[in-house]
């Protein structure tokens, strides 16, 4: 393997632990990020032609800490941070480039960092962007692309969020136990935004595909750090199940393949098995919630990987539960489509028609679901009109190709 590529991968893997430890110590996100960036550069240079250290995280941590302290000494404006954090000037004034030893015991502050980035005092979208940036190290350009925002606007959003943390003095402590309910809920909604961004487009181009892996890692990290919360485990399972189908979500032409028509052999069996284990752990904790129900829905579909038929009745029941927990158009539309599999297209269509809401007319999944069921009932004229309505609402490319193909079939 190319040493530089190897160093790069090791640096990315070490990032959450190192940045979290630096942020906890220096109580400043920018300092932690900049220090890590400096140390990464140093590592890339140093290990381009030398074997990697046994403990890259430990190496980066020492190098970054020295760089930051060096900066603090040079920058009088930052004296305030030194005073507030009660830092002692470090005895080792040697050149940061001469890092040869390292401390293998870096304190694990990842959860603390996640809690800071996901503080409920920060707007949910900004939280998600900040977490992807600071915890995962996703470049601002890619986050902007995933949020469909211009890079300067995203940069400004991140800067504002960091300023809020600094100026309003969001604490750099792990919140006390009695606040965990509210704080963990804020973390979960943050992850859910990341999840929705990553999987909104079946034919996702690079930025969102990468984002899927980041969200997968982040959810797994949270499950590792908070194994006692069933919804944390449920969300981790949900993300794994969504990711397990990535390869099967589009065909060779880049056209979206709906879940029920996907080739189950292309689903990732290891991810499905891991998700099933997480859900067993969650179930053992004995407290259900929307993320577990959503994961159970995906897992019911995933059983097709083992050659089992899809249990649509179970799926309808799960949607009923989810509707009670989280009423909303998406859930109701998906429930109607599942109902159509059990009781026929007419029952599904009637369920769709019973939905009410002023915005439904501008909602693409509603038109797409109507079109599908109208075609299944044999009403091709109505189906064509509905497909046209769905296509008029700017679907992403993969979905557009699917809708166009379905539209052509209604004319055949």
């Amino acid at each position: 393997m190319d040493a530089r590529g190897g160093a790069g991968a090791a640096i990315i893997a070490a990032r959450p632990v190192v940045v979290a430890a630096l942020a906890a110590r220096f109580r400043d996100l920018d300092l932690a990020e900049d220090g890590f960036a400096d140390a990464s550069e140093l590592a890339l240079r140093q290990f381009a032609h030398h074997p990697l250290p046994a403990n890259m995280a430990g190496w980066l941590h020492v190098a970054a800490r020295r760089r930051i302290i060096d900066r603090l000494r040079r920058d009088a404006r930052l004296v305030r941070i030194v005073e507030q954090s009660g830092l002692e000037p470090e005895a080792d004034a040697e050149e940061p480039d001469a890092v040869s030893d390292f401390d293998p015991r870096i304190p694990d502050e990842r959860l603390r960092l996640i809690f800071i980035c996901c503080h409920p005092a920060i707007a949910p979208d900004a939280r998600a962007a900040l977490t992807l940036r600071v915890v995962c190290g996703v470049p601002t350009e890619r986050i902007a692309a995933a949020f469909l925002m211009a890079v300067p606007a995203m940069y400004q959003r991140l800067t504002r969020a960091k300023a809020k943390i600094r100026e309003a003095q969001v604490p750099f402590e792990t919140p006390p136990q009695h606040l965990w309910g509210e704080r963990l809920a804020a973390v979960l909604t943050t992850l859910e935004i990341g999840y929705a961004l990553a999987y909104q487009d079946a034919g996702s181009s690079e930025p969102t595909a990468d984002l899927g892996l980041e969200v997968l890692r982040l959810a797994a990290m949270l499950a590792e750090l908070v194994p006692g919360d069933p919804e944390v485990l449920g969300l981790a399972a949900l993300v794994q199940l969504a990711e397990s189908r990535r390869a099967a979500r589009i065909d060779r032409d880049g056209c979206m393949v709906p879940l029920s028509e996907q080739d189950a052999a292309r689903w990732d069996a290891a991810l499905i098995a891991s998700a099933a284990t997480l859900m067993e752990q969650a179930a053992a904790l004995g407290c259900s919630g929307p993320y577990q129900v959503m994961a159970a829905l995906h897992l019911t579909h995933a059983r097709r990987r083992n050659g089992q038929r899809t249990d649509w009745q179970a799926i309808v029941r799960l949607y009923d539960v989810l509707l009670m927990m989280r009423p909303g158009a998406v859930v109701a539309i998906n429930r109607a489509l599942a109902l159509a599999q059990v009781e026929g297209p007419r029952a599904g269509f009637d369920a769709l028609e019973a939905l009410q809401g002023p915005a439904l007319d501008r909602y693409r999944p509603w038109h797409a679901a109507r079109a599908y069921l109208q075609a299944a009932m044999g009403d091709m004229a109505a189906a064509r009109a509905s497909y046209r309505a769905a296509l008029a609402l700017n679907p992403p490319r993969a979905e557009r190709l699917y809708l166009e193909a379905a539209f052509r079939e209604t004319s055949a």
Partner: protein
Amino acid sequence: MQYMLMIHEDESIYAGPDGEAILADTLAKHMALAEAWVAAGVPFSGERLKPSATATTIRWNHGSHQLHDGAYAESHEELGGFYIITVDDLDQALEWAKRIPVPGKGSVEVRPIWPMGAEG
């Protein structure tokens, strides 16, 4: 760190049929909160404001000004009072702010106070 806790509440609730009882209950809760601050050793100050109809607003526009009768913005939630507390961080300020009684609908805005003499 000092935080200002600004209490925006619906004044009309005190003018309704149960207004007097609601006011008495709210004031009692404010007294209890003040006692809790004393017991916790949290330095605090605060004032209750007269109704927004008593407000006069000076509106500036590039050097010239005009006087207006009433609060700076028409809304259903008026600034009814405020506290200034000294605590360690935002989480502590938010915990205290959640204990401020707000009958009916309203909101409490929590803002860090710019320390005197601090650089921009």
